[in-house]
C-alpha cells in the first residue's frame, strides 16, 4: 500500500522498485551507513556482519529457487560449498597467469565458481523433470550429502584436500601479494566488498522478479498446471531457477572461501542448509526484502544466544552440561517452527501490516 497522496499514474511508477523520494533517501542513507560502519564498529561485529552479508547472498539464490519458483532446496549450503571449493581448488592448483598476476586469476574465479555451482545445481535439479514438492526436496537433501562426500573422499584428496581442506591466499587487487594496490584482506575492507556484492545481488534478484523469467517462476510456483497451459515450459524454467539460484550460491561460496581463507568439508553441513530455508521462512516466502529480514533475525538470534543467553543459562544451571551451539540450535529450530505455525507469511508481511496500520492510522480498521 502506498503512502497517502501517492498514486501510480504510469506503468513505470507501478513497477518501480523504489517508488517515492523518501524511499530513495532512506535507502541511500542505509547504504551510506553500511559503508561507514567499519569506521566505528568493533571487529567482532564487522566479522559477524560480513558473514551475514555472505549468507544473504546465498539465501537470495534460495529465494529465487524457492521463494519465486517454489522448488524447495535443502542442499543450498552444499552448492555454496561447490563455489567455495571451485575457487580454492583453482587458485591452489593452477596459476595460469604466473605468480605476479595471481590476483587476476582469483577474481576470474568469481564467475567460474558461480558457473560451477550453477552447473552442479543443474545436475541435482534434473529430477524436477518428474518431481515436485517434497520429493524434489528429498533429492536436494541427497545432493547435500553427495557433494559433501565428494569433498571428503580420500581418492580426490590430491585435488580437494580431503578432510583437511584447502588454504587460500588473502584477497587483493593489483600489485603483488606483499605490496597490494588495494588490500582486501583486512576485516573492514572485506566487509565493504561483501556488502557491495550483497547489494548487487539483491538488486539482481529484485530485478529478476520484474522480468518475464521472474514472472514465469511465480506462475510456476502459484499453479504449475495453469503455467504450463499458458505456454511456460515448466522444465526449462525450473532448471533455469536452479541455475540462477545456484549462481548466487556460487558467488556466496567465493566470498565465503575468501573470507575464511580455508575451506573444509565440515563447513558445508546440512544444518546450515536448514538454517537457510529457515531464514526464508522467517522472512516470508517470495519477497527479496523478506530475505534480509529473515537472515538478520536468525543471525541476531544466533549471536544473542551464543554470546548472552547460553553463558547466563550455564551459570544458572551448571548441572546441565550446556553446550553452547546445541542450545542455540534448539532455539533457532523452535523459532523456525513457531514462525511456520503462527506467522507463516513471515516477518516482512508483519512489517508491511505495521506500515499499513500507521498509514491508515485513525482509520486502521479499513485495512481488514
Amino acid at each position: 500500500m502506498l503512502p497517502g497522496g501517492v498514486f501510480n499514474t504510469k506503468y513505470e511508477s507501478d513497477v518501480a522498485i523504489l517508488r517515492t523520494k523518501t524511499q530513495w533517501f532512506l535507502l541511500a542513507l542505509g547504504v551510506i551507513f553500511l559503508f561507514l560502519l567499519p569506521l566505528f564498529a568493533p571487529d567482532y561485529w564487522l566479522s559477524q556482519l560480513t558473514s551475514l552479508a555472505i549468507v544473504i547472498v546465498a539465501v537470495l539464490g534460495l529465494h529465487v529457487l524457492t521463494g519465486l519458483c517454489g522448488q524447495i532446496s535443502i542442499g543450498h549450503r552444499a552448492f555454496v560449498g561447490v563455489g567455495a571449493y571451485a575457487v580454492a581448488i583453482l587458485t591452489t592448483r593452477y596459476e595460469p597467469f604466473g605468480a605476479g598476476l595471481a590476483w587476476v586469476w582469483t577474481w576470474l574465479c568469481l564467475p567460474i565458481s558461480a558457473l560451477a555451482a550453477g552447473l552442479v545445481g543443474l545436475i541435482f535439479g534434473l529430477p524436477c523433470f518428474k518431481l515436485k514438492g517434497f520429493y524434489l526436496a528429498i533429492s536436494t537433501l541427497a545432493a547435500s550429502y553427495i557433494i559433501v562426500w565428494v569433498f571428503k573422499y580420500e581418492g580426490f584428496s590430491s585435488v580437494t584436500g580431503g578432510f583437511i581442506g584447502l588454504p587460500l591466499d588473502p584477497l587483493y587487487i593489483g600489485g603483488t601479494s606483499e605490496e597490494p594496490f588495494i588490500d582486501l584482506s583486512s576485516r573492514s575492507a572485506f566487509y565493504c566488498l561483501a556488502v557491495a556484492v550483497m547489494i548487487l545481488a539483491a538488486f539482481l534478484a529484485k530485478n529478476l522478479q520484474r522480468t518475464s523469467v521472474g514472472r514465469a517462476f511465480v506462475a510456476i510456483r502459484d499453479n504449475e498446471l495453469a503455467a504450463e497451459v499458458s505456454g511456460i515450459s515448466i522444465f526449462r524454467y525450473k532448471m533455469m531457477a536452479f541455475f540462477i539460484g545456484c549462481l548466487f550460491a556460487g558467488v556466496a561460496g567465493w566470498l565465503w572461501a575468501n573470507s575464511q581463507l580455508r575451506v573444509n568439508p565440515n563447513q558445508f553441513s546440512l544444518l546450515d542448509s536448514i538454517w537457510y530455508v529457515g531464514m526464508l521462512i522467517i522472512g516470508g516466502w517470495g519477497s527479496t526484502s523478506g530475505v534480509f529480514f529473515g537472515a538478520t533475525f536468525l543471525k541476531l538470534l544466533e549471536i544473542g544466544m551464543t554470546d548472552y543467553i547460553t553463558p547466563w543459562l550455564g551459570d544458572m544451571l551448571p548441572s546441565i552440561k550446556l553446550q553452547v551451539h546445541v542450545a542455540t540450535n534448539i532455539v533457532q529450530g523452535l523459532v523456525i517452527i513457531l514462525f511456520m505455525m503462527l506467522a507463516p507469511r513471515g516477518l516482512y508481511y508483519l512489517w508491511e501490516r505495521l506500515k499499513i496500520y500507521y498509514r491508515l492510522h485513525p482509520y486502521a480498521y479499513w485495512a481488514r
Binding site: K130, A143, G155, I281
Partner: protein, 294 residues
C-alpha cells in the same frame, strides 16, 4: 561364493534394520500424510533415554522398557498435540520442513543437552554371534530382523483387518471427509504418532545395542530409511519391507564389490539410490501414482 553369501546375509539382515525404521515412517505417513523426517531424531532421544535408565540409573531391564514405552507414548502425544495438530490441513511440504527442523536440530539437540551427546554403550540383547556355514553374523542383527518382520506382519494385519487401521487409511485419503463421516480425526492422528514413536523406541533399542548410542545415529537412520521408503512407495507397508531388503542388499554388495576400488562408496550408496529412484520411479514400486487434477 563365500563373499557373495556373506554379503547377501548381511544385506538381508541390514535390510531388516532399515525396514524397522522405514515402517515407523510409513506408519505415520499412511495415517496423517506427514513425512516424518523427525523419526531419526526421536530415535536418538529415546536411545539416550534408554541408556540413561539402564547405565547411570541402573534400573532393571523390564522397568526401563516400561518407562521407555510410557515416555515414547508421551512424546508422541506431545508432538501431535503441540506441533502437528495445529498443522492439520497444511500442505505436505510445510509438515515436511517442520519435521526436518525438528528431527535434525531440536530433538537431537535436546538429547545432547540432557545427556551430553558423547557416544555411549548399552546392552539390551545378548551380544555374540552365530555361524552358519561360511556366514557369521551377530545376534543383534538377527533379533532386529526378526522384530522387523514381526512388526511388518503386525502392521500389514493392522491396516488390513482392524477398524482403526481402516480409519487410518480413510483419514489419510481425505481428513475433511473423514471428519464429516464421524471419524475422530484428531484421535487417529494422535494414535499414528504414538505408534510412530513406539516403533522409534524399538529402533532405538536395536540400533543403540548394535552401534554405540550417539547423536549421529538418528541422521544416519533416517537417511538410510529414505531410499527404502521411496523405493517401496510411501503408502505401502509391504513396499517398505521389500524396499528395505533391496536397499540393504545394494548397500552390502556395494560395500563388498565396489569399496575395494572406491573407498567409502558404501556410505554414498543410499544417496545415489535416492536420486535414482526419484528420477526413475518417484512413486516407488508399490506406491500410489497420484493423478493431478485441476
Amino acid at each position: 561364493m563365500d563373499t557373495f553369501l556373506r554379503a547377501f546375509t548381511e544385506g538381508i539382515l541390514l535390510g531388516g534394520v532399515y525396514a524397522l525404521i522405514a515402517l515407523g515412517v510409513v506408519m505415520v505417513f499412511k495415517a496423517s500424510k506427514v513425512f516424518n523426517l523427525a523419526h531419526g531424531g526421536i530415535l536418538v532421544f529415546l536411545a539416550y533415554f534408554t541408556w540413561w535408565l539402564l547405565v547411570p540409573k541402573g534400573l532393571p531391564l523390564w522397568l526401563a522398557l516400561l518407562m521407555l514405552i510410557l515416555v515414547s507414548i508421551l512424546f508422541g502425544l506431545t508432538l501431535d498435540r503441540f506441533i502437528f495438530r495445529p498443522l492439520i490441513g497444511q500442505t505436505m511440504l510445510v509438515t515436511f520442513i517442520i519435521t526436518l527442523v525438528l528431527g535434525f536440530t531440536v530433538i537431537p539437540g535436546l538429547a545432547t543437552l540432557f545427556w551430553g551427546g558423547s557416544p555411549q554403550v548399552m546392552h539390551v540383547f545378548p551380544s555374540g554371534s552365530m555361524t552358519v556355514g561360511p556366514v557369521t553374523f551377530s545376534y543383534t542383527f538377527l533379533f532386529s530382523f526378526i522384530i522387523a518382520t514381526a512388526l511388518f506382519l503386525i502392521f500389514v494385519f493392522y491396516f488390513r483387518y482392524t477398524k482403526t487401521g481402516l480409519l487410518m487409511r480413510c483419514v489419510s485419503e481425505d481428513n475433511l471427509i473423514s471428519q464429516s463421516l464421524g471419524i475422530n480425526v484428531k484421535w487417529i492422528f494422535a494414535l499414528s504418532w504414538v505408534v510412530g514413536c513406539l516403533s522409534a523406541a524399538i529402533g532405538a533399542i536395536l540400533l543403540g545395542t548394535m552401534f554405540a548410542v550417539n547423536s549421529e545415529l538418528g541422521g544416519l537412520a533416517i537417511i538410510h530409511a529414505l531410499p527404502v521408503v521411496l523405493l517401496g512407495g510411501l503408502e505401502s507397508v509391504p513396499g517398505a519391507f521389500i524396499g528395505a531388503l533391496f536397499v540393504g542388499l545394494a548397500e552390502t554388495f556395494a560395500g563388498t564389490y565396489v569399496d575395494p576400488y572406491v573407498s567409502g562408496f558404501r556410505e554414498l550408496m543410499p544417496y545415489i539410490l535416492m536420486v535414482l529412484i526419484l528420477m526413475l520411479r518417484p512413486h516407488g514400486l508399490f506406491g500410489l501414482k497420484r493423478i493431478e487434477r485441476i
